[in-house]
Every structure is written in C-alpha cells, then in structure tokens.
Amino acid sequence: MTTAERNTGDSKSGSPAAMLDHTVRLLTASDGLRTFLLACAAIGLALAVTGLLILVAGKNPIAAYWALIKGVTGTTGRFAFALNKSTPYILAGVGVALCFRAKVINIGAEGQIAVGAIAATWIALNMLALPPVLQVTLALAAGATGGAAWSALAAIIRLKRGVHEVLCTLLLNFVGVLLVSEALHGRMGEAGAGFPQSPLLERSAWLPNLLPDTDLHIGIVFAILAVIGGYILLWRTTFGFRLRVMGASPKAANYAGIAAPRCMLGVMTLAGALAGFAGSIEVLGVHYRLIEGFSAGFGFNAVAVALIASINPIAVFPAGLFFGFLEAGALAMQREVGVPSSLVFVIQGLTMVFVLCAIGIGARAQRV
C-alpha cells in the first residue's frame, strides 16, 4: 500500500490525497443531463432576450426565427450548406473543448485555422503531380500540421516565458490572420483578381462530395469522427484522465505526478491540429481556394461551441450544429424579414454569458 492510498483511506479533508480522491469521484459522477438542461436553458434565454431586441427594431421575432429555421431546413441544398457551415466549428470546437477541460484557455483557433489553411492551399497548388487522393490527404495533413505548429508556438511561449495562454493565442490570432493576407498579396495570390484570393484549386484537390446536387462535402464525416475521437480520448485514455484531473484540481494533478506542462503542450498541439484541419477543409471543400477573411469569427465560434459543451466532447456536435445552423439561417432571416444577420453574434454572446453563469452557479453548488 503506497502512502497515497493510505492517505485516501482515512480521507482527512484538505490533504492532497483526499483532494485527489474527491476530484476523481467528481469526475466520474454523471452530470450529462444537468449540463444538457443548463445549455438548453441558456440558449432559450438568449433567444428570448434577442427576441426582445428584434421587437425593438420593429420586426416580428416569431417571423424572424421562423425565417431562420426555414433558411436551414427549407431545402436539401440549404441543409447541406448549414452542415458545411457547422463543420469547422465542430472540428475546432473539439480541440478547444479538450483544452478547456484541462483549464487551458486556448482561444487561438482563429489563427490556427488561418495558418492551417495557408499550408493546405500551398500543398494543393503545388503538388499537382500526385494522384488526387494523395493530394487531398497531403493537403489536409499539411493543414493540421500548420495549425498544430501555430498552437504549439503559443504553448511554448506560455510554458517557457509564463505569458498567459489567453494572450499568446490571442496575439498570434492577429498575426495568423494577417499571414493569410500576406500570402494572398504575395506569391499565393491570383494575379489580376480584384479580390485577395488564391487561384482556383484543380478539381483533383477538392474534397469529395457527399450528396449529389448539393455542396455537402465529406468534412462533416471528419467532424463526427473528431467528436467520437475526442470523447474516447477524454474518457478512455490516460492522457484524457490527466487532462480531467488538471482541469479539476491542478494541485491534485501535481500530487498525482502529472506533468502539467507536457499535457498542456499536448492538448494545445492537438487542438491546433484540429483547427488547422478545419481550415484546410474550408479551403478544399467550400471555397476551393484561399480567400482573405474566409475564417473571420471561426475561432470565437469554436470557443463558444466548446464552452457550451464544456462537460462533454459529444456535446460539441449539437453545439456546433446550433452555431452553424444559426449562421446559415441568419442570412435567410436578413433576406426575408430584414433583420440584420449580425444578430447571430448577439445570440452567441448572450448564450455564452448565460452558460458561463450557469456553470459558475453549478460550481458553487458543488462546493457546498
């Protein structure tokens, strides 16, 4: 019997071992339903407050929301468009959710998506001699690597120099997004195009289509795989367990001999890879080229999605769909009812604030 085990036995409150024991029990308790209900309540509240705003603007909220729903479900094509919209949010959201679980506040998805997209575009433009399957695979791999490198850079600055990860990832976001502009105004840009964009990719580098007569590409399949993978990683592997302990109690993690820096680097790199992958999918599956500003707001959406799904990576899927559908539907809402589509940001921001408050209240309830 090791010291740790003996200490757990008499469970003196306040001792590190008791803390570890308590943490483990908290982690294994099932709280899926409660989280789901909280998230639903937060979304409902956000939609209600936003409805009031629509009223203030002199429009009918019910008509607006109806147009939003019709905008997503009206035709197969629209539904496919909405699924495509959700894909990058889900992919990047899984990575951010894993980071959040370990209390690593990685908000760098925006920059990681951008850098990943540059890498993928470069491969897709320059590796034309390869067979199509290899072109796509290599481009996706390059995207993931680019995103992972950008994220690892932030993690290293965090670990070596103690700059909070929020600031590192945030500042690198601006640089990453500007790198896209730099690439497009430089070598990667299409000569003579009126807009900063790369030349159209060859058909061989496009992502395969999933549903004929729609834009639906196979990205959504990757998104589902990422969600399942994230779930398995978090709940069925040692690395996932370490992340959970780190998030629940850094002291307990330290006591259990978990190398927090290595875990942080690992989870940040993984999240960066997923974000970079999301960026490449956007290039290879939606635009078939790199476009300036293609990823505006993606990173923040990934953060919001991860937050709503904070307890469970599986929940990233519905949360990502919610955000993607919201944006796809908002365009229809603007067109048909004349409600500005920027209202989506209001819904997103409010949902986040309410979810955060719910989590905060929940944490307090747990403590007692």
Partner: protein, 307 residues
C-alpha cells in the same frame, strides 16, 4: 528623417496611444481588483458606438462622451455581474461580451435606423491648444496641441496613481485584488468592490472607444476597435499593473502604430501586412521578455466565495 518628421511621429504616438490608455486604465482598475479585463475590447466598441450614435442624434460632443462612458459601463456591468456575482470564468466571459458587443453594435446600427446602416460623418473633436504651453517648441507641439480627451487621459493616469497608492478606497480595491479573504475579514465586500471596479473600468474603456469614433475618425464602423482592447491588455502587463507603466506601454504601442503609418512612405522592402503584424509581435515579444517576473494581482482570476 528630419526633426519635424520626428515631432510629427511623436505627436501621432500620443494621439494613437490615447484610446489605448483609456482602455488600459479601465482594464487596470478591474485587474487590480482581481478581475481579468479581457472584455475591454467589447467595452471600447460599445463606447465608440454609443458616442457616435449620441453625437449623430443630438449633435452634442459632450453628451456623446458621456453616453460613450455609459455604454462601456453597461458592458462592464454584464461582465461584473457574471463574474463577481455568478462566478463565471473571467477570461471566457470577457470573450463572450466582446462578441456580444460586436453583434449588438452592428445590429443596433442597422436596427435603430430601419434596417440599413446610416452614413455617419461627424466632425472630429478638434485640438485644444493650451495657451502659452502650446507655444513651447517641440514639447508644445507634441503634448499641448492635442484634443481635450488626450489631456483627460493623461490627468487620469496621475489621478489613478494617487487613488491606488494613497487613498483608502484605492487600498481597499488593491486588497480585494490581492487577498479578498483578508479584505472581507476587515469588513469590505469583495463582490461589490469588484463589480464597482469593473463598471468604472468599463466606463473608462468606453471613453477610449469615444476617442476612436469621435476624435480619430468621426464615424462608427462594425468592429472598429479591431483588437485595440487586447493591445491595451498587453500594455497593462508591460506596465506591470501601474498607471504610469500602462501609459508607457500604450505610448510604446502607439509609437509602433505611428511608425507603421509612416512606413508606407519609406518604401520598405516588406509588405504592409508584415508591418501591420508589428504591434502584436512587439506585444508578444515584450510579454515574453517580461515573463514570470510580472507581478500580477495575487487573487486575479479567482472568484471570491464567502466561507
């Protein structure tokens, strides 16, 4: 580079640094009381919007400045209640209100004017040369021929230094940021102090937004703060959580931006995008250079619970 050019760049540095300084002072007061100020970007944006809309509808610049501060304070109040009262995570709440402010300003800009964003062209707040002082060579041009809000920002820096170091309320605020339990034990309510600090900080950040919309450009566009709130956050850290340190940080970032504006004319071998990256890279490099030696308020980030 001749001396008139240098003076011009320095004057531009002060001008560009002013909105940053307001935001940094606002963030500073929130952080010294123990709450990360990630939301100042949103508070600035709300201030820029409120100020521009108020001047557009009433024509009164002083009312515009007042409304700008109130708009920033309103966003601050959301952060304050969520983090101090409901113990929401400070970093992510900040991000959330940034999105919220972006959406709300963009929506209201259209929603309040019948669905289409109005064309806003406001006269910018002009320079207020200070008699006699503005005639001093070099220093006069740089410091005393600026718009009024620049002077206010500089005075605020001094006032906040005195407040934090010498006044009882300032001491209390710092106590809440360093050890809320101890502050609570001597009869201060850390939750209320934090709420007040964030709301006041929001008002200051809102003024920073007003500098942008009313003094710099005379209009409001979606997301016009464009990351300045985050640069202000970096300035706070560079300045090690003191008002004059933050002033130094803001001037530094102002100087980078002023050089950036100038650099187009110098025919440098790098593109404008690389130059635009400079403030962010400089901020990151400075933060990395300071590293762990930065002494942040001890209890920052941790929600306060009564035991």
């Amino acid at each position: 580079m001749d001396s008139s050019c240098l003076i011009e760049i320095t004057a531009a540095t002060v001008r560009i640094g002013t909105p940053l300084l307001f935001a940094a002072l606002g963030g500073l007061i929130s952080e010294r009381a123990g709450t990360f100020a990630v939301g100042i970007e949103g508070m600035m944006l709300a201030g820029a919007f409120g100020g521009a809309i108020a001047v557009l509808t009433t024509g009164s610049p002083s009312l515009g400045i007042l409304i700008a501060a109130a708009s920033g304070a309103l966003v601050g109040a959301i952060v304050a209640i969520a983090t101090a009262r409901f113990r929401a995570d400070q970093m992510v709440t900040g991000l959330a209100v940034n999105i919220l402010a972006l959406g709300l300003t963009s929506f209201l800009l259209r929603g309040l004017f019948g669905g289409r964003a109005p064309v806003i062209r406001l006269p910018t707040l002009g320079a207020w040369p200070i008699p006699y002082l503005s005639d001093i060579p070099v220093v006069g041009t740089i410091l005393f021929r600026q718009p009024a809000l620049v002077y206010i920002a500089l005075l605020l820096t001094a006032a906040m230094t005195v407040f934090l170091a010498k006044m009882r309320t300032g001491l209390m605020l710092r106590a809440v940021g360093d050890g809320p339990e101890a502050a609570f034990a001597v009869g201060t309510d850390p939750v209320m102090v934090r709420i007040a600090a964030i709301v006041v900080g929001g008002a200051l950040a809102g003024l920073g937004g007003a500098v942008l919309s009313l003094q710099e450009v005379g209009t409001f566009t979606d997301g016009m703060t464009n990351g300045r709130g985050f640069i202000a956050l970096a300035a706070i850290i560079v300045g090690r959580w003191t008002p004059f340190g933050a002033l130094f940080g803001c001037l530094l970032f102002g100087a980078v931006a002023a050089l950036e504006l100038r650099a187009y004319g110098w025919g440098l071998p790098v593109s404008s995008y690389v130059i635009q990256m400079l403030p962010y890279i400089v901020a990151l490099a400075l933060l990395a250079g300071i590293g762990r030696s930065a002494r942040m308020p001890a209890a920052i980030g941790a929600a306060f619970t009564r035991h």
